[in-house]
């Protein structure tokens, strides 16, 4: 009998690992190194020749107030939407684990936002938030919140959801939360069902009511999983520009500009590849920190 390939774990390991190694090198490592290279060069869409310029791209990016606005917006966008995603995700997770009739259709509907392509769902949101034909505004007019002298919010006929800086940011956050909450809910369902049923029963016999059980037993027990969901979502939010791009294009007047969209506008739309790469690279240390935090949280869960 000869030793076959299947009997040699070392060789097999290499064969099985090869596709992912190739994939990571081609689609992660090469673009990353390329971005570092571009960030230190004067490459533009019109003139692709590589000339070393040192840190001048960074200096130019930092000198632009829009960069700092975008950085601030990125943090606001991420922190607010993650807080809401975790809170709503927990509520939704409680609904998903509850037993009631017609549970399957609720589960299906809950997961729908996550499975719908961003471009598609953002376009329907674009219509919902339209400056003139918004159905939300229509409903608000019907119940007397808008459109008359004694209206509760303002006498105008429309809210201009995407036109006012504050409302535009709120709209972007709302759509993003709507999109990410199902994912967070599913992750937290996994955390909830992993809690032994007897813990809840013991707390019930010990005399604890619903809220005490929720805040003293359930939430502390899902906290590590919730932390993973939050960090995962934070990375996702940090690197995502689809919602901003479709809804507001960064406007009005850069009020919803985030780092990714700003890098895209500068590097691709504006053709200044060098500066676009420099802005995009600014995300790297932040994402690295988030990734380390995730790994730490996972490690803590294993210890328990």
């Amino acid at each position: 009998m000869k030793v076959r390939l299947a009997d040699r774990p070392g060789a097999l390991a290499w064969i099985f690992l090869m596709p992912s190694v190739v994939y990571i090198i081609a689609l992660v490592a090469v673009p990353f190194l390329l971005a570092i290279g571009f960030a230190l060069s004067d490459v533009t869409a019109g003139d692709p020749s590589f000339d070393w310029v040192g840190l001048r791209n960074f200096e130019r990016a930092f000198a632009d107030p829009v960069f700092w606005q975008a950085l601030g917006n990125t943090f606001i966008f991420t922190l607010v939407s993650m807080t809401l995603v975790v809170l709503l995700g927990k509520v939704l997770a409680n609904i998903l684990v509850a037993q009631f009739k017609g549970k399957w259709i609720v589960r299906f509907l809950v997961l729908l936002p996550w499975t719908t392509p961003v471009a598609l769902s953002s376009i329907s949101w674009l219509w919902l938030l339209d400056s003139i034909y918004s159905p939300i505004d229509w409903m608000m007019r019907q119940i007397g919140l808008l459109g008359s002298e004694d209206a509760l919010i303002k006498p105008d006929s429309n809210m201009y959801w995407l036109g006012e800086p504050g409302l535009a940011m709120a709209s972007v956050i709302a759509v993003h939360v709507w999109r990410l909450t199902p994912l967070a809910a599913v992750i937290m369902v996994a955390g909830l069902v992993a809690i032994p049923r007897e813990l809840d029963e013991a707390a019930r016999v010990d005399g604890a009511g619903y809220w005490r059980r929720m805040f003293e037993i359930t939430i502390p027990m899902v906290l590590p999983v919730a932390a993973v969901a939050a960090l995962f979502g934070a990375i996702f939010t940090f690197t995502d520009m689809a919602v901003v791009d479709v809804l507001t294009n960064g406007g009005p007047n850069n009020a919803t500009q985030v780092l990714t969209s700003w890098a895209f506008f500068r590097g691709i739309d504006g053709g200044d590849v060098g500066q676009g790469a420099a802005i995009a690279l600014f995300l790297f240390p932040l994402l690295l920190a988030a990734a380390i935090a995730i790994l730490q949280a996972v490690k803590r869960m294993e210890v328990r």
Binding site: P196, E198, V205
Partner: protein, 355 residues
């Protein structure tokens, strides 16, 4: 101290998940019409094989399950519809169900905080409960840093601390190793005598039941077979189920025209060891002898008392009679040790005159 009573309690689980019609095949009656009452401060043990409904009965008393019909009464008040926290009961789970993210102190104080007890009193009661169970030095630890025996004490302290009317214990010793179990059993009994709280204890282990219970309720298939003190349940079993479930090895049952004759292995002795005037002689075709911690277990076929049946005799270490394997041997049972059961129902009947 309190009296716990259940009246005509029935708990039915619907068969097969997703079936709409309740009377579909597979609907299971976990508790099938149980009437039972404890006495003040009594230690009542629910004993039965797994799946007999004993844990369901306990959980229904705790309020974790709603009965299909029937009532639960604590101190004469119907508590059937009340949630667990309104019942003033404390439960120790088989897994102990300690809160893993809380320290031992926080675990024990939890029921007091839920009951909104003032802080100083809480502190005093935790110290009292911890001292009673000898875990005062562990209060800062987390449950995962404790041994099995220590966890069990923490669970007991948590149950004890708000001085409930009733303790409900669901196989609290089954996660301990054999040696620890014996000492924990002893402690559990002393502890209950000290605090004097009515206790309902669920187990499938007859040794625990015999050792701990003031009375034992033997359950099978959701029904109570017999309730009585350990000696009564052991010596005068109500039916063949109780006779064979309790005792190790179980009671020998020999069919004999219309009745079943039962006798405990330790009462089947060589004829020379039984006073002749009221002995019933049995020939035993011995085929195997086991030595178990000093006793001899003699396996063989009983002849001449009824149909030939395999039986076991347990000879105490003090008896020196030789019992050769492969031969017939004269054995005997004292007449007053014989028990009789009806063949069709398995229930106890009157003694048969001719024996």
């Amino acid at each position: 101290m309190a009296v716990v009573e259940v009246k005509n309690l029935i708990k039915e689980y619907p068969g097969g998940a997703g079936r709409r019609r309740p009377r579909d095949r597979g609907a299971v009656r976990a508790v099938d019409g149980i009437d039972l009452a404890t006495e003040e401060g009594e230690y009542l043990v629910l004993l039965g094989p797994s799946g007999c409904g004993k844990t369901t009965l306990l959980r229904t008393i705790a309020g974790l399950e709603q009965p299909t019909s029937g009532d639960v009464l604590i101190d004469g008040q119907i508590v059937t519809g009340l949630p667990p926290r309104a019942r003033q009961v404390a439960m120790v789970f088989q897994s102990y169900a300690l809160y893993p993210h809380k320290s031992v102190y926080a675990n024990i104080v939890f029921p007091l905080r839920a009951a909104k007890v003032p802080k100083e009193e809480r502190d005093r009661k935790v110290q009292w409960a911890a001292a009673l169970l000898g875990i005062g030095h562990l209060l800062e630890r987390k449950p995962r840093q404790l041994s099995g025996g220590e966890r069990q004490r923490v669970a007991l302290a948590r149950a004890l601390v708000r001085q409930p009317k009733v303790f409900l214990l669901d196989e609290p010793l089954s996660n301990l190793d054999a040696k620890l179990r014996a000492s924990a059993r002893d402690e559990l009994k002393r502890f209950q005598q000290e605090v004097g709280t009515t206790t309902i204890y669920v187990t499938h282990d007859q040794v625990e039941a015999m050792g701990l219970g003031d009375r034992i309720a033997v359950l099978s298939d959701g029904r109570i077979r017999q309730v009585g003190p350990p000696s009564e349940v052991y010596d005068n079993p109500a039916d063949t189920f109780v006779a064979t479930f309790i005792g190790s090895p179980p009671m020998n049952l020999v069919p004999r025209d219309g009745v079943i004759v039962g006798f405990r292995p330790e009462h089947l002795l060589p004829a020379s060891a039984v006073p002749e005037d009221h002995a019933v002689t049995i020939r035993l075709a011995v085929d195997r002898v086991e030595f178990l911690s000093g006793d001899r277990h003699v396996y063989g076929t009983a002849l001449g008392i009824g149909e030939p049946t395999r039986v076991v005799a347990r000879l105490p270490a003090t008896l020196d009679v030789a019992v050769p394997v492969g031969a017939e041997h004269e054995f005997a049972v004292a007449r007053e040790r014989l028990r009789f059961f009806a063949k069709d129902t398995g229930k106890r009947t009157e003694a048969v005159e001719r024996l």
